[in-house]
């Protein structure tokens, strides 16, 4: 388990725990009370830490290298009954964006999401979860496919941003994202969006317009990353912690500002501490939300979706 910089105390306790277990095994001395004592201490420490994470610490958890990614969720939720569909039918298959039909307890759902890699090689292969225009166009193709066969759509969002590359500009990154946002408002099927890691700006909202939008407890969603915000507004990279706080980018901030519809609780210590538990929770939320959304007539659902977003924004009128 990779520990984050604010988890040092937990690291120390875990070390002690390992030592105690080793001593027990080597010497045959009864260490069980010491072990259980340390285990309790670790949980206490985690509870203390995680009940009071700062915005920047949550950003760190959202980027934890062992955090489950989109395909992990899909595999579990569909019990491996998933067929990945590739390509935008124009340029190529974007590896940073994945999607396909899968079933949840027998019911077919279109899953779409950004995919990050688990090691250096795979991170490059997945372009760090930064999609190009063809990724967004693949996503749109799959959404339309779902709509055609009246299947609901679930998007899993985890991206540090849409890729800012030369070819991306040539192929219209702006247009691709704009088109997706626009078309997502017109989809006649239910759309659920879940931020499972990073929700960075246009890259996130490009698959992020939904009837219900959820954020996992330790994720962030905003217009810019704290680092870039610091570099632009403070003109140095050093203010990422202040920027994270100022941006109000955590799940609870976003929920309190009525910009997302719900928060999904993560296991103690973050999703990576108990992937199965978070998969189960997410599956449950998807099932419940779909049941609720399907009760609505499609036209009504679209109007509700549009009204939800047109109500967003605070301003003064004198």
């Amino acid at each position: 388990m990779v520990l984050l910089d604010f988890e040092k105390e937990i690291g120390k306790l875990q070390e002690q725990l390992e030592k105690a277990i080793n001593i027990g095994q080597e010497t045959g001395v009864d260490v069980s009370s010491m072990v259980s004592d340390l285990e309790t201490k670790i949980i206490d420490e985690q509870e203390k830490l995680y009940s009071n994470l700062s915005s920047w610490e949550r950003v760190q958890v959202s980027r934890h290298p062992e955090r489950p990614y989109t395909l992990n969720y899909i595999d579990y939720i569909t019990d491996n009954d998933f067929i990945e569909l590739h390509g935008d039918r124009n340029v190529k298959d974007d590896k940073a964006m994945v999607g396909g039909f899968g079933t949840i307890d027998g019911e077919t759902v279109m899953f779409i999401g950004q995919q990050k890699g688990i090691n250096t090689k795979m991170r490059q292969y997945r372009n760090f979860g930064m999609a190009n225009p063809e990724g967004y166009r693949k996503a749109l193709r799959l959404m339309k496919l779902a709509e055609k066969f009246n299947k609901p759509i679930v998007t899993l969002i985890d991206t540090p941003g849409a890729f800012p590359g030369l070819e991306a500009e040539e192929r219209g990154q702006g247009e691709a994202i704009a088109r997706n946002i626009y078309e997502m408002f017109k989809l006649k099927v239910p759309v659920i969006c879940i931020i499972i890691g990073e929700g960075a700006s246009g890259g996130a909202i490009g698959i992020g317009v939904g009837d219900k939008v959820f954020m996992l407890e330790n994720t962030w969603y905003s217009v810019i990353s704290p680092e870039s915000c610091s570099s632009i507004l403070w003109r140095t990279w050093d203010y990422k912690i202040d920027a994270a706080k100022a941006l109000k980018l955590t799940a609870s901030d976003m929920f309190n500002n009525k910009l997302v519809d719900g928060i999904i609780k993560e296991p103690l210590g973050g999703a990576h501490n108990n992937p199965k538990e978070i998969f189960k929770t997410v599956k449950k939320v998807i099932k419940e939300t779909l049941t609720e959304l399907k009760k609505q007539d499609p036209e009504k659902r679209i109007t509700t979706r549009i009204n939800k977003y047109t109500d967003m924004g605070v301003f003064n009128e004198n």
């Binding site: 991306a168 408002f185 403070w234 100022a246 109000k248 980018l249 910009l259 924004g313 009128e317």
Partner: protein
């Protein structure tokens, strides 16, 4: 190596030859110096030429100037003129957002980064939402979103074609996720405009980047631009840093964007009014 023959970087002459007493002062307000060709022309001539230099460089001008250029007799009615930004996040960076707003309002004489108006081009009614780059980089906050939304409602009610003149660095960071959601909000309203079969013309000016490009600016029934405008999603600096090499000449300029298929046509400012009248006539007849 001696000092004389390490040569090529030694100055032969002094850098500045002009004595201070001989220095030519250009009086503020009387002359315009083109940043592209460095030509200096009388401001009066420059304005008569719609702020376009003889070399073809289109100077960045504000919303008000476009209204002068486009509307018959400069007659138009402004919509929601008094709407101003709130500070829902209590945002503070190097200064408070509220202070920044007040300072910008004072300096620019504007209320926010967009002005929405209704007027006539030729015989055609048109609703125009024009962005003000001088207001925090033309950034899109809740006011920009709401004023566009209401302008679209006005267009739908009056069956009047709608145009957005985009000129923006993108989202307004001080409104963070509220700003991000304006991308969705404006796009949602455009679906309603489209359902009502009211035409939407998107005019992209120098510069149009970020969240504005990734929402309403790229969603026109026709997308048009002035020559040489910087149009893109990511800014050139970010792209240069990402790919680690220099960008080709003309990258992300209107001509490049048109060549890659994202603009319908490029129109010089002197032809803008006539072209729009023609375009509106074709939508109407």
């Amino acid at each position: 190596m001696t000092e004389e023959n390490n040569g090529w970087f030694n100055r032969v002459e002094q850098g500045i030859n002009t004595e201070t007493k001989d220095k030519k002062e250009i009086k503020e307000g009387l002359w315009y110096k083109c940043p592209a060709c460095k030509e200096i022309v009388p401001k009066e001539d420059h304005e008569a030429n719609l702020n376009v230099c003889v070399c073809g460089y289109h100077e960045r001008v504000n919303a008000k100037r476009y209204f002068e250029i486009l509307f018959d007799d400069n007659k138009y009615i402004e919509l929601n003129a008094d709407m101003t930004s709130a500070d829902p996040l209590g945002f503070v960076d190097t200064k408070k957002y509220t202070d920044r707003l007040v300072a910008t309002q004072k300096k620019s004489g504007l209320k926010d980064a967009i002005t929405t108006v209704v007027g006539k081009i030729g015989t055609y009614d048109i609703v125009i939402a024009a962005m003000n780059f001088e207001f925090i980089g033309g950034s899109m906050g809740a006011v920009v979103g709401e004023k566009i939304a209401r302008a679209i409602d006005y267009s739908i009610e009056n069956k009047a074609p709608f145009m957005i003149i985009s000129k923006s660095g993108g989202a307004r960071m001080m409104e963070a996720a509220f700003s991000l959601m304006q991308m969705a909000k404006t796009s949602a309203k455009l679906t309603q405009l489209s359902d009502a079969k009211v035409p939407y013309i998107s005019l992209l000016l120098d510069p149009t980047t970020g969240g504005v490009t990734a929402s309403f600016a790229m969603l026109g029934d026709v997308n048009i631009a002035e020559p040489g405008a910087l149009i893109g999603f990511a800014g050139p600096r970010v792209i240069r840093e990402t790919i680690g090499r220099d960008l080709p000449e003309g990258f992300q300029r209107s001509e490049f964007v048109k060549e890659h298929g994202f603009l319908d046509y490029i129109v010089e400012r002197k032809n803008l009014k006539n072209t729009l009248a023609q375009q509106l006539r074709m939508f109407a007849n």
